[in-house]
Subunit: 510 residues, 2 copies
């Protein structure tokens, strides 16, 4: 028996929805395709924001805020960009409502001369500002970041993974030349890799996307890819070298040291609330979420075993003192987040609530613990021994002394577990497309674990790449990226048999 | 000579725009009515967010995130609410663009069956969630908060003070009865009062708005009002007791202890980026902004007097070590924010940049300072002695030892200065409307300092209040609020001569 009604093995997509619901992370809203993010989910996002913001600022970026609405003419300037985004934008056409025959409608007299779109991403409006701000090479590099909501009109939505509105961070920078812009592109990618691994305990493979998977308007797109527990890939962050495409479209030029007017090279990069989906599908188990301690809104939850009797007061005092002592500690660079749950509910219900949310350490303190000066607790990442819940008891002083280490160890264990899964499930022994077909073409059931493959290819372009894409699509596969770490020599292209030039990762993906 | 080209006395509105521009706080964007918030302005907002968020959480509220887009039918449910907001909303009518005759337009085939509006405030969509979440008295109080962007289609905009899009925090709570909801309404008001005074150094008067100035749909609206340096009032935050209006419109009912289905009582309260406008008009001077130290993105800025010579390296090292030492200190509950400005620009230009932005302490360190182990600095709130810039010198160890105290003293001095201005400029000696007309009706020039008046009134309602509003409007005045602190007895109503029941503040306002 587990805390969720559906297990990962039975039905992974259903299990995912169950975790989102039972861990009280988010729920669907009456606005089609948008979700309501609830405190445990938003708390994880706040931790992501605060730590990633620190790393982004530390590397010389400053935060700005640009308008939500982008004039329609802006989006039309970069041809690939509009092709990539025009099909899924929310369009604002009126600025007033009016009761017409008793029904509230857009006021025909308040139609906008030029419609606005709700930003799906902000290259165009930020590029416009760049063109005004950048005059000389002295103004470069210009490195900025924005935390914002964006909107893409998705037809099939899944909470956190693909929603019409989502929250994200978008970095935008301008540079004197390709070399400097590429350094920035790789810097952002490395920020994402280290953040995902160190802070979210999600191991990833960083690499370059193939031509047909690039961001609309990019010269090169890089991604970090994570393996979910169903063996699918999740693109968890992207970094784009935009070359001079947006600079040309928006006239971003600077006077170089010789006095010549020169096009700037720009980059953009982003991660979003999708990361929370990655946390769920990397660390969740059949009892709910296991929140990595670094990112858990509450790291140690203390549940007093109240009985509605006079002794309760002593018990509460014991728990409050414990929480205070724990709160004075530092872990993962911040104050330890300890919390006493005194809600009017049964202790067992509270325990299971916190298990489903994945609070890392859950202390259940009864009168005997208080009397003996001890702490009884469960570790969320090692919840059971066989079917039974495994609890631990330590003297209070020892628990406080070890708290930091317990949380750090859990963070490391979650990462190691996911890292082992990733490494054990990338096959590197496929040499022909027939191997791929054998492996991916014979599904016993929807969602069977297939993992990723790492194969050699000759990096075809244009129509030849289109054809590769079609062949993979028939197996529901996509090329995820060409990992940064490449061997010295290559075999033959798995698609054409021609000499290969690169290794790529292929997988089913979210 | 001052750092700005226009002084407060010459032209206050022009001076305001000059500060926004010269302190690099924000600029107009190509999206009509929306601004681009730049790092110094956004940094102030980040400080506001982080400190206010702490206070909001400390008082038992949790953060959520609700959708940006609200279905049109939701906004129509509360009659007063729609009346108040329908005239100024951005309406989303399409979800796709299409090239029609080569021009990108909203795709006629992608017209939404029900339009969405961009949230001008979120009572309706949050109320809908309340109606689903609240079942029993055990679910109450439900106290939540959201940090979000909102949009109101303003025709006349002024940066930070009134923009189409702005950033804010909106609290929304539900309670078992009026008493509990009113406690919450007053708690939020007190959070705003203490935050404005302690953290932004803006003295305010907290009080209740008259009936005709209430939030659309509210039973009672409270505000904090601040006096700007031109004598006008700025409403800096509001807290609303919504009674059961939204609960009725959205069916927010709970089962009470006796099993009966009962309407919940709700509240809402918010502050926005408008607060930054308040900081500017409270603390700015003719040299730019004076940023209160608690909220300054950089509290101590160190400008090394570099000369492009080999000695520069030593000077930079001296400054970096000083910044590191300062950064280890704690002030206003956070780490001290020290910064070395090594930008490639003339030291004098850098000094004036920081003066205009209002960095609290600006250190100018030359080779002699480094050699003597001392720090030469200016205090932004006491910049000049006569016309001359006044600089101070302290031994480095003394400067570090006194840094916290220097910043705390400056915070207190800025508050005291504004408090003196507020108290000295509320006249309380007017007994008739003729007094008001004499004072406000004879302007020599636009923008002359008139301050506020505190008068008695009989609190008329309905048509009688409308008439009072019209009479005041002719003098460009509005009732700001009825301060919480009221005398024991009242004179006669300044409008009608009838026995008064309350004192109110009257002023010109933003």
């Amino acid at each position: 028996m587990h805390a969720l009604k559906v297990t990962r093995a039975e039905d992974f997509p259903e299990w995912y929805q169950a975790v989102v619901r039972e861990a009280d992370l988010a729920e669907l809203s009456p606005t089609r395709g948008s979700m309501i993010i609830k405190p445990w989910g938003y708390g994880i996002w706040e931790r992501i924001q605060s730590e990633l913001d620190r790393r982004i600022k530390e590397t010389g970026h400053e935060n700005y805020y640009f308008p939500l609405l982008i004039p329609l003419s802006f989006i039309a300037k970069e041809a690939d960009h509009v092709e990539g985004f025009a099909k899924e934008m929310a369009v604002v056409t009126h600025h007033r409502l009016k009761a017409i025959d008793g029904v509230l409608k857009p006021d025909p007299e308040a139609e906008l001369a030029e419609p606005f779109i709700i930003r799906p991403t902000s290259e165009t409006i930020i590029g416009d500002a760049f063109s005004r701000w950048i005059k000389s090479y002295r103004d470069l590099p210009l490195k900025l970041n924005q935390w914002a909501n964006v909107m893409r009109w998705e037809m099939r939505t899944r909470m956190f993974l693909r929603t019409a509105e989502f929250l994200w961070q978008e970095g935008h920078t301008a540079h004197v030349d390709e070399a400097d812009a590429m350094d920035e592109t790789m810097l952002a990618l490395e920020i994402y890799r280290s953040f995902a691994e160190d802070f979210l305990a999600i191991p990833v493979v960083a690499g370059e996307k193939p031509e047909n998977e690039r961001f609309p308007g990019a010269v090169r797109t890089y991604s970090i890819e994570a393996m979910m527990q169903d063996g699918k890939a999740l693109q968890a962050g992207t970094s784009h070298y935009l070359g001079t495409h947006f600079a040309e479209a928006q006239n971003i030029r600077y006077q170089d040291k010789d006095g010549a007017q020169t096009l700037a090279h720009t980059t953009s990069w982003g991660v979003s609330t999708r990361l929370i989906g990655g946390v769920i599908m990397t660390h969740g188990d059949d009892d709910g979420l296991r929140t990595p301690p670094a990112v858990a809104p509450r790291q140690i939850v203390i549940v007093p075993m109240l009985r509605g009797k006079p002794e309760d007061a002593d018990l509460k005092a014991y728990c409050a003192a414990l929480a205070k002592e724990l709160g004075a500690l530092t872990v993962f660079g911040s104050g330890l987040r300890a919390f006493v749950d005194v809600k009017d509910a049964k202790p067992a219900d509270k325990r299971w609530d916190w298990v489903r949310r994945g609070a890392p350490l859950i202390c259940e303190i009864g009168p005997r613990d208080a009397a003996n000066g001890q702490v009884t607790f469960i570790k969320r990442n090692a919840l059971r021994e066989g079917e039974k819940i495994k609890s631990h008891t330590l003297a209070r002083a020892d628990f406080v002394a070890q708290a930091r280490q317990l949380l750090e160890a859990m963070q490391a264990e979650l990462f190691a577990e996911a890292k082992t899964r990733l490494e054990a499930n990338i096959r590197a022994d496929f040499e022909t497309f027939a191997d791929l077909e054998r492996h991916y073409g014979t599904e016993d059931k929807e969602g069977e674990f297939k993992g990723w493959v790492r194969v050699c290819w000759s990096r075809p372009t244009g129509a030849a790449l289109e054809e590769v894409g079609e062949r993979l699509k028939a197996l529901k596969l996509t090329i995820r990226n060409a990992p940064l770490a490449q061997p010295a020599a290559f075999g033959k292209c798995v698609f054409t048999g021609a000499p290969a030039v690169e290794e790529i990762l292929i997988a089913r993906a979210y």
